[in-house]
């Protein structure tokens, strides 16, 4: 078993934060996991990518060109991952969810956590995790920080989204 997840967005959107939560939860569960961040010099405004592999076998090489799940969180990152789009099995693109994000009045600061909830549901369906396992890792990482309530709400909305 192995699942490959590529997360993409703008620097500052929190791509690395959710990548860390997903991979930490996999490690805590005893799975084999590799997570490699990929971004340029920019602290903000550049494209930020995270390559994650989760499985039960040793992982030799952290990158891949054919993700099982590809998350696109911005226009700029959509351009950056163009070559991955045709090779991805499932694509979650923010442009398809804008209506929902606005309807539910989710703050753009919490979009990453909404998509984490969304991804969690997918990964639960793939029998990789239970939702509680990812939530626990998220709680560990963010519960002492400001906006925890908003993040919790965004996670729940992502998790309950009917896709």
């Amino acid at each position: 078993m192995q699942i490959k997840i590529l997360l993409s967005g703008d620097g500052g959107q929190g791509i690395q934060t959710i990548a860390e939560v997903i991979s930490r939860a996999a490690f805590e569960k005893g799975l084999t996991v590799s997570f490699i961040p990929n971004y340029g010099l920019e602290q903000r405004g550049g494209v930020s990518l995270a390559f994650i592999k989760i499985g039960d076998q040793e992982i030799v090489y952290p990158k891949f060109s054919n993700p099982d799940i590809l998350l696109i969180m911005s226009d700029q990152s959509r351009q950056r991952v163009l070559e991955y789009i045709s090779k991805s099995k499932k694509i979650i693109d923010i442009k398809d969810y804008n209506f929902y994000l606005q309807e539910k009045k989710i703050n753009s600061k919490n979009y990453n956590i909404f998509f984490l909830g969304f991804l969690t549901k997918m990964l639960e369906k793939e029998k990789i995790y239970l939702a509680e396992e990812i939530f626990l890792a998220l709680e560990k990482k963010l519960s002492s920080k400001p906006n925890w309530e908003e993040n919790k709400k965004a996670f729940a909305l992502g998790l309950s989204f009917n896709f």
């Binding site: 084999t32 590799s34 997570f35 990929n38 340029g40 010099l41 090489y61 952290p62 990158k63």
Partner: protein, 347 residues
């Protein structure tokens, strides 16, 4: 840390842990991606740490510390790696056991901060004159730990400067690491290179060319004598191989997977992965290639042929296998690309 069976660590954290376990007392450094977190991680460990004004000062700081009998190291990349060659040349001249961790990034100049295998020639032969140094190329996090420990041990045992040549992927990756297997490694203790309370004249400049020539010859002879104790490599499926893939570091690990897959498809391919790039496992490679069966040597690397230059230079001239190259400078290489390349080779 070593009590727990598995940890979820980055390459940076592995290097810091290995340096601590090796008995390093100090680090001098100037931050540069992808090695910044080695410096910040070392700082957090509470050991002696100095952020210098640049890599030139960092390298000479390490030289000073080892002269005083202390295990010390630095870490850098790309343009910083160039600046460190100045002090590293002095370490070669005086045979100082300095240790340098290089995280290769793309080049030339600032290039990318991410990944490449483009600092091989610089790491192996970047000094002025013809000094001798040890260069190790780890293919995964366990090996990164092991080779960092070896770099400290062998630098102090044989008195040559040592480089652990890794890359941005290997340092930035976060992965499961099992330290249990390394519990038995023993440290070579540091020695005081200058006796206390004694005035020692220890030159690294010579008045007469004959004088220097003797030192150069001795250094080279010593290096050749210890080489057999240091050279390491991994080989796989070489017994009946017709095509031999040569790759190092993380690309070596990728190539190994490709070999396993190609064997399932009945393609007679083998792997040779040098773990020490200097000294290079020349005799072992000659032996493998000397078997009549090897018809083609393919060097796979994330550069325009830096490993290939070393292989061609080291390989015995009577070996007549032809060469082919899979080169992706500054880019990672996936197993599928190696498989595709090999399947299209005509012998």
């Amino acid at each position: 840390m070593q009590n727990n069976k598995k940890q979820f660590l980055t390459g940076h954290e592995v290097v810091v842990q290995a340096a601590l376990d090796a008995g390093a007392e100090s680090m001098f450094g100037y931050p540069i991606t992808p090695t910044c977190e080695i410096l910040s991680g070392w700082f957090e460990s509470g050991k002696k740490c100095l952020q210098t004004e640049d890599e030139i000062a960092a390298g000479f700081g390490v030289c000073g510390a080892v002269l005083a009998g202390e295990k010390s190291f630095t870490a850098s990349s790309g343009p910083g790696h160039i600046l460190l060659q100045d002090s590293f040349s002095m370490a070669e001249a005086m045979r100082l056991p300095v240790v340098l961790i290089v995280g290769q990034r793309g080049g030339p100049s600032s290039g990318t901060v991410i990944y490449s295998q483009q600092e091989v020639i610089l790491a192996c032969f970047g000094g002025n004159g013809e000094g001798m140094r040890l260069v190790y190329s780890p293919s995964n996090l366990s090996e990164l730990y092991l080779l960092t420990r070896r770099a400290f041990n062998e630098a102090w045992k044989y008195r040559y400067p040592a480089i652990v040549l890794t890359d941005g992927y290997t340092l930035k990756i976060r992965q499961n690491v099992d330290f249990d297997q390394f519990k038995k490694i023993e440290n070579i203790p540091p020695i005081s290179l200058i006796p206390e309370n004694k005035i020692v004249h220890w030159p690294n400049i010579y008045t007469a060319e004959e004088e220097l020539n003797i030192v150069l010859e001795n250094t080279k002879n010593d290096f050749e004598n210890i080489a057999k104790e240091i050279v390491s490599f991994e080989s796989k499926e070489i017994e009946d191989a017709e095509i031999l893939l040569i790759a190092h570091g993380i690309v070596g690990a990728v190539t190994k997977i490709a070999v396993e897959e190609l064997r399932k498809q009945n393609i007679k391919v083998g792997l040779f992965r040098p773990i020490t790039l200097r000294p290079f496992p020349k005799q072992e490679l000659d032996k493998i290639c000397g078997w009549k069966k090897i018809k083609k040597i393919v060097v796979v690397e994330s550069s325009f042929g830096q490993l290939a230059r070393i292989v061609r230079d080291q390989l015995a001239p009577e070996i007549d296998a032809s060469f082919d190259y899979l080169q992706k400078p500054g880019l990672g290489i996936e197993p599928e690309e190696v498989i595709e390349f090999v399947k299209n080779i005509k012998i």
